[in-house]
């Protein structure tokens, strides 16, 4: 009998929907139906059924082809390669669970690596702004239950977080928002008339790249001063009207995205947005939230903050203490300046999403990919190690875009012999300790590690 599993989490975008239902085959090996997920999440779950999913590591041969090797061989090669490198770069973690992120910290320390995650090319500027200006935020539940004015600034949830507007930001009926969309006023600030802008009551179609001036104009009007007739391509009357709407809200919620972080000004745009939020709190309750892209990209920010004190761009190569300096210790900058000599791409696809020159620089050195599926990075790697898919065949803790932790389930069995990220990293760590004749430092008295302590046990699974 097929089984219906409820309260399943979707491992795609930062909405981290936890109301998915999945019908799986009786033998726990195949996904039959997916309910409630958007098209992207649905495709993700069904992709787990792909019979061509890799089951063994593959290593690049001198003639350019890939050949399957065993897990112990792959683990040994990865350990040796990372230890031999002076400054390996470990990047990714948009799509792994927190248990894996904690385990990789051991490898990063042992090999003196730079530990970075996708925020470096995404919401990194938001972190930079938070360091300087704080983060007056809240949970998505608060937004759903309280917000009567919602501003989408430089973000397009109808495309990037398809169920966000239904679950949290425009349509749902909440505790103080019983009339749903009927009692919410939506503002969209975007240089295109996106599908999100089409749902807005006011669309400010600003000149692309001039968000900073517009944030500043909003603040100026809010504080009662005059502004020029046109700012960032938006007429003064529209700016004044928008500020009035936000000021008169009972609870104003600002969501922002790549329109602010990928454009000129980067962190200064977010800094201005946070200042605007703070200014609005002189008039009403206002909160701001970064639309984090992946379902668990907030994870490494949390996990590495509690382990190292920093959320990304962590340089551990000194061995004695961690150092963070985005611009210096960030993945793309390190790549472009040829400052790293080994690259490990985990749960992400630098091959497709870094600017191609950065990939070319990184390819001068050993290039390893750890990912359940084939992707662009795996197809240029020297070594590709498959692992289980977090949220599909591997459970784990996940941090939603508002930093709320959710315990995701697995819905099908993993492929035989394929470890989880955490198990793989712990095996690489043990091998690194063997090679350097040092004792592994586990978390002292914690004896509930679930991974095998000898590598050959994996292939017997």
């Amino acid at each position: 009998m097929p089984k219906l599993i409820t309260q399943v989490g979707c491992p795609y975008c930062g909405s981290s929907c936890d109301d998915i239902e999945v019908l799986v085959s009786d033998d726990n090996k195949k996904i039959l139906e997916v309910h409630n997920a958007c098209i992207i999440g649905t495709n993700l779950f069904f992709h787990a059924n792909d019979p061509t999913r890799p089951k063994l590591p593959r290593q690049r041969q001198p003639d350019g082809s890939m050949k399957e090797i065993s897990y112990p061989e792959a683990i040994d090669w990865m350990a040796k390669t990372m230890l031999a490198a002076k400054k390996p770069l470990i990047y990714g973690f948009g799509s792994t669970n927190c248990e894996g992120m904690s385990a990789v910290a051991r490898i990063a320390e042992k090999s003196g690596a730079v530990l970075d995650n996708c925020a470096t090319i995404c919401h990194g500027p938001s972190f930079l702004a938070m360091f300087d200006n704080g983060y007056p935020s809240c949970t998505l539940g608060e937004a759903k239950n309280r917000a009567d004015v919602v501003v989408f600034w430089g973000c397009n949830p109808m495309h990037a977080h398809p169920r966000h507007t239904s679950r949290y930001s425009i349509f749902p009926r909440g505790y103080f928002t019983q009339k749903g969309q009927m009692q919410r006023t939506i503002l969209s600030v975007d240089p295109r008339q996106t599908d999100t802008a089409k749902l807005a009551d006011v669309h400010l179609m600003l000149d692309q790249g001039h968000d900073y001036e517009l944030f500043d104009a909003f603040r100026t009007v809010l504080k009662g001063y005059d502004i020029p007739d046109v700012v960032a391509g938006i007429k003064k009357e529209t700016i004044i009207k928008s500020v009035e709407i936000m000021k008169k809200a009972r609870f104003c919620m600002i969501f922002f995205g790549m329109g602010c972080t990928h454009t000129d000004g980067r962190n200064h745009n977010i800094d201005a947005a946070i200042s605007l939020t703070r200014d609005l709190n002189n008039h009403t309750k206002c909160s701001i939230m970064a639309m984090r892209g992946h379902y668990n990209i907030a994870g490494p920010g949390q996990v590495w903050s509690w382990i190292f004190g920093f959320p990304y761009c962590i340089d551990l190569s000194k061995g004695t203490h961690a150092h963070m300096n985005p611009g210096e210790t960030s993945s793309v900058d390190l790549a472009m300046r040829d400052e790293v000599d080994c690259f490990v791409n985990i749960g992400a696809d630098a091959g497709a999403h870094f600017p191609i020159q950065a990939v070319q620089h990184l390819k001068k050195h050993p290039f390893i990919t750890i990912d359940p599926n084939f992707n662009m990075a795996s197809e240029v790697s020297d070594l590709h190690i498959p692992v289980r898919i977090a949220g599909v065949d591997e459970p784990g803790v996940v941090y939603r875009m508002d930093n709320v932790p959710i315990q995701f389930k697995s819905v099908i069995d993993g492929l035989p012999g394929v470890p989880s990220d955490e198990e793989l990293f712990d095996m690489v760590y043990e091998r690194m300790c063997e090679l350097t004749k040092t004792e592994p430092v586990w978390l002292a008295a914690k004896e509930d590690r679930k991974h095998p302590t000898n590598i050959s046990a994996v292939n017997e699974a």
Partner: protein, 193 residues
């Protein structure tokens, strides 16, 4: 790790044990399979405690060491790690931070000060897994956490209606699902006011 199941002899320290009115006498403590016993065999691992105090691990009943607000503090203060972090040396891992230490520094520093247990005194129920993850990554010391109830809408609604038994049932349920240790109330009603 095998020592936990084996025999240990802590030799020659100044023993402080108020319950038995021992106040600094030099002596030995024998441990077998995690319990203090009268004596152990010659195979025991010996720890030389000469010149050192031997006492029960300290208990910090109220601290803020694990969870979302501590992590936000770490995030807001990158400068707290600059030039102020300890230098890592085997067998410990890197210890970062000064006013808001990383979980590794928290565990090591408390252990160095002689503590065995620390209570994280404020766990927001919706973030309970976060608190437990940080506890899991904190070495050596034992920890527990107190969920906060002071601004919980359900508690406030039940109390408003005078439903004391329902309030108790809800609190009991929340303690169980968040694996909380006790009830914490801070600024009751204040954030919703």
């Amino acid at each position: 790790m095998s020592e936990i199941h084996g025999e240990i002899l802590i030799k020659g320290g100044f023993i402080v044990d108020p319950a038995q009115k021992i106040d600094g006498d030099v002596g030995d403590i024998a441990i077998k399979d995690g319990k203090i016993v009268d004596k152990v065999s010659n195979a025991a691992k010996v720890i030389d405690a000469k010149g050192k105090v031997v006492m029960a691990g300290g208990v910090d009943v109220h601290s803020h060491v694990a969870g979302p607000k501590v992590n936000v503090g770490r995030l807001f203060r990158p400068e707290d790690k600059l030039f102020k972090s300890g230098i890592a040396h085997a067998p410990t891992r890197m210890e970062m931070g000064f006013s808001i230490p990383s979980v590794l520094k928290t565990g090591y520093d408390y252990a160095r000060m002689g503590y065995g247990f620390v209570m994280e005194a404020a766990m927001p129920p919706i973030h309970a897994p976060h608190v437990h993850e940080e506890i899991h990554d904190t070495p050596i010391i034992d920890q527990a956490a107190l969920p906060v109830f002071g601004n919980n809408w359900f508690v406030m609604e039940y109390l408003k209606k005078g439903e004391v038994e329902n309030t108790a049932a809800y609190i009991a349920w929340l303690l169980r699902v968040t694996k909380g240790f006790g009830v914490k109330v801070v600024n009751p009603g204040g954030t919703a006011a």
